[in-house]
């Protein structure tokens, strides 16, 4: 089947019908090209949106309190609800579906940070060590807060990169003491946010802050991570359950959104990813539709070719060509055209998306990419392989009907149409 003769025969017929072969090949190449561009764009959009989620763990959930807006169990509306340290213990030990917990105590007003002669006003985030995982805090030197810092109410702080630059210039900040609102804190680490949003922020042990700044057992907000469930319904069930429990603990109507607010990222994340799965499926359907149009084109051309070559096929059969060898001849030609044309379309589609990606990377690395909802719009290797397999298969499919027709050519009739 793979000797030189059959290829010679195929190439000589292709040479005789250059334009037709080109047009046929073009429709297949176009189909694959569009499939690659669509898939790449779909991937790019998905990666872009995923990037937007990447600031935090996708299973993070925030909770905060306010004043009640619905009367409940004899209480009037307008009552202030406050989280406390017992809520922290409850969430960590008893609440269902909760993985990690961090609490936050807000420091009032702007607090001045100073070191030697340098000073500035920065945001202080008080938290538990778990926040490092939740908000994906990156430490460029030193360490983040740990449980011992919490238990011993240590006066330590992790400062953002901008704070380090402002206070320390080129000096190594680790182990140095800075004054935060006139209380000395030892710098134990420097954090660094590649998207430079949190660089003007420091992280302080929640317990220390609560004690120093007179918080009693007050907690302003909680950040928790939930179990990594698979459906949006399950994710919502976890946050609903926590709301029920909190409503019971603090005596407010569970439907009162003003009393306690929360945002469950996982629900949003799962929903968004669902949308992208749907988009991806849609893209495949359109792409394959385009491809089918190309394949029908090839099939059509091959049918005409077989009709034109009826006499030649008749001669071959009279001289001893078996039906299998005739089928092989037509099928191989069809596979050859679709595979080569499809491969060209594949390379061009992937090439375009890679080029686009390169331009995008340049833009992002030069700092202009923050608003772009589009990242790495490329097609992975596995997809390209399956597209190639689809091509070869479709080539065989396109050639099959014409090949069967060719094999059924009766030499007598073929040789008698003068």
């Amino acid at each position: 089947m793979f000797d030189i003769d059959i290829w010679q025969e195929i190439f000589s017929t292709i040479r005789k019908n250059k334009l037709r072969t080109f047009l046929t090949g073009f429709s297949v190449a176009w189909g694959i090209f569009m499939l690659m561009v669509l898939l790449g764009s779909g991937n790019g959009l998905q990666n872009g949106v995923r990037e937007q989620f990447s600031d935090n763990a996708e299973n993070i959930m925030w909770m905060w309190t306010g004043e009640t807006s619905i009367p409940f169990k004899g209480y009037k509306e307008g009552r202030e609800i406050r989280f406390n340290n017992e809520d922290y213990d409850y969430l960590l030990d008893k609440a269902e579906g909760v993985d990690q917990v961090s609490a936050r105590f807000f420091l009032r007003g702007d607090i001045t940070y100073s070191y030697g002669k340098e000073y500035g006003s920065f945001t202080t985030s008080t938290c538990y060590p778990a926040l490092a995982d939740m908000e994906k805090i990156k430490i460029s030197s030193g360490r983040f807060l740990n449980d011992l810092d919490m238990m011993e109410f240590r006066k330590v702080v992790v400062i953002g990169d901008d704070i380090r630059k402002a206070l320390f210039k080129e000096e190594d900040p680790l182990g140095k003491y800075i004054n935060i609102g006139n209380v000395p804190f030892m710098v134990i680490g420097v954090s660094h946010d590649p998207r430079s949003q949190d660089n003007r922020q420091s992280y302080m042990p929640f317990t220390t802050a609560q004690r120093i700044y007179g918080g009693g057992n007050r907690v302003h907000t909680f950040a928790i991570t939930t179990e990594m469930v698979q459906t949006a319904e399950e994710a919502t069930a976890i946050s609903d359950n926590i709301r029920q429990q909190m409503a019971m603990r603090h005596s407010f109507d569970p439907t009162d959104q003003k009393a306690m607010g929360s945002f469950n990222m996982l629900t949003e994340y799962i929903r968004t990813m669902k949308i992208f799965q749907a988009i991806k499926m849609f893209v495949w359907i359109i792409g394959i539709g385009t491809l089918i149009a190309g394949i029908v084109g090839v099939s059509n051309i091959m049918l005409i070719l077989v009709k034109e070559r009826t006499r030649e096929i008749g001669i071959r059969k009279a001289l001893g060509a078996s039906p299998a060898s005739v089928i092989g001849l037509i099928l191989l030609e069809s596979i050859l055209i679709t595979t080569i044309a499809g491969y060209i379309g594949l390379v061009m589609g992937v090439g375009l998306m890679e080029g686009f990606n390169y331009a995008l990377e340049q833009m992002i690395s030069s700092g202009g990419g923050d608003q772009i909802f589009f990242r790495n719009p490329t097609v992975d290797f596995g997809t390209a392989i399956s597209a190639t397999l689809i091509l070869i298969l479709s080539g065989a499919l396109a050639g099959y009907i014409p090949a069967r027709k060719a094999a059924s050519v009766k030499p007598i009739e073929a040789l008698h149409d003068e």
Partner: protein, 237 residues
């Protein structure tokens, strides 16, 4: 070599059935030089197709070289055609995009002979036809007589037992026709059975036996020794 015993063949088109061969009994020995004659519709093409294993028959029996030919599948039939029979056609039926040598070599391709070997053999046969210098020419660059000689070389290359020629001179002028007939005679002299279908009397007269078909049966068989004279007369004209 060829034994036909009450061969019947009809073609069914829709509700109509056309009974073409109505019981053909025929025996052709090895090395015979035979022509089949008859007007159109007499069944001579059908007979040729059956002899050439291009078509099956309804009833009777056909034995070729001791092997009964009936109900073969396409692959088997193709193999037998390739081994036993060489075809020569009125319209030459060379493949237009292959040169003379490649056309001649084609039957050997289907015997899975290596490319180099079949090209050498093809050159030998072209040489025998006096076409050595034309080996690299496409059919469109050859004259009618040359084309038919290429076709005969192609028919001979697989060493067939039988040559079936369907109006081999139908598209040629008289002089070229006789040249082709001379070649076929030489082929016959080497012991190969040659069967020619023709409606031209002068061509038929050059064979040793004429089978005349009429309405699907054999009307007469003329064993021809003296008709050689007939040919001389035609040539003189």
């Amino acid at each position: 070599m060829i034994v036909l015993d009450s061969i019947h063949k009809s073609y069914v088109t829709g509700t109509n059935s056309l009974h073409v061969l109505k019981g053909i009994d025929l025996e052709i020995g090895a090395g015979e030089f035979v022509s089949v004659m008859g007007s159109s519709g007499s069944g001579k093409s059908t007979l040729l197709n059956i002899l050439g294993i291009l078509d099956d028959y309804d009833s009777g029996s056909y034995v070729l070289n001791g092997k009964k030919i009936k109900g073969l599948n396409e692959t088997k039939a193709a193999m037998l055609r390739n081994e036993m029979i060489g075809f020569v056609f009125q319209s030459f039926n060379l493949i237009s995009f292959k040169n003379a040598r490649e056309n001649v070599a084609l039957p050997l391709y289907y015997q899975k002979v290596s490319r180099r070997k079949r090209n050498v053999i093809a050159m030998e046969y072209l040489d025998r036809m006096g076409l050595k210098d034309w080996a690299d020419h496409l059919p469109s660059e050859l004259s009618g007589g040359q084309k038919q000689r290429v076709a005969i070389a192609r028919a001979l290359i697989s060493n067939p037992k039988v040559i079936l020629a369907d109006e081999p001179t139908g598209a040629l002028d008289t002089v070229t026709s006789f040249e082709v007939m001379d070649i076929l005679k030489e082929v016959n002299d080497q012991g190969i059975t040659v069967i020619i279908v023709t409606h031209e009397h002068d061509i038929a007269s050059m064979t040793r036996k004429i089978i005349r078909l009429r309405d699907g049966i054999i009307a007469e068989v003329i064993v021809n020794g003296d008709l050689q004279l007939y040919r001389d007369r035609v040539l003189a004209e």
